[in-house]
Symmetry: C2
DNA sequence: ACTAGTGGTCTACGATCATCGAACTTGGGA
DNA sequence: TCCCAAGTTCGATGATCGTAGACCACTAGT
């Protein structure tokens, strides 16, 4: 897998975003990414699930247009496509951010504290 | 079926809303309801699919908190829970409304013209 | 070049979902 | 009362999804 598929901004469809965000695990990942505010290495997130499961969730988020994944050597870095999403579907990310989680998962808390250290 | 289940406002969860709205047929129904702006009889919508399928979609929308269904004799009337949704998840309905449909389905167009007549 | 280890994908499987036909329930007339 | 109209529920089927174990690619160190 050399090339990662990302939809262009105009190809992002609302129902695909809704589907991507309808899974609690993915919603949590996006919330964590928003909270951290910057590019994150793949392995700093999603430690609560199997690698393959997390990889699958990242693929769904990427192909729906929620996130962008950058390849750099052996690492992959994930970001939320905030500018494009705010331009095309204003308010969506605010919704995700403000509907704060009932409680942070251990993985998310670990990622948060690691990012602050 | 005497009693229809509706979640209370504080029980409405974002991931359930996202899931309910991630299906194109349901998204179309909600967009039509918003466009029409008032209570609609069940049979004025969803003529593009089987009765049982439409009934299932309405159930998903209702149980996720998107719509409210009122029973009146042999008829049921559906509304979008706009006030509650705007209070709890501000911007969500605007998002659905503004991300206009690529094209109105025949059923939706029929419902629209019927409502305008 | 070989090996070890890290980082990510492929494949299979169980669960959920969307769809529809058919049978059932209920209410409103003729 | 008898029948139709409006919706729901049930059963079945094909598709999609979430999960995780097994597998592969790449890098660093020796």
């Amino acid at each position: 897998m050399r090339v990662l598929l990302h939809p262009a901004e105009h190809e992002i469809r609302l129902e695909n975003l809704f589907h991507a965000l309808s899974d609690p695990a993915r919603l949590e990942v996006v919330r964590t990414l928003i909270a951290l505010g910057s590019e994150q290495s793949c392995n700093s997130l999603g430690e609560a699930m199997a690698k393959s499961t997390f990889s699958h969730h990242l693929k769904v988020l990427r192909e729906s247009g929620v996130t962008r994944t950058r390849v750099a050597g052996t690492h992959r870095y994930v970001t939320v496509r905030s500018e494009e999403l705010n331009r095309r579907f204003p308010g969506l990310l605010d919704l995700v951010e403000r509907s704060g989680p009932p409680a942070l998962t251990d993985a998310a808390a670990a990622a948060l504290s690691a990012a602050r250290a």
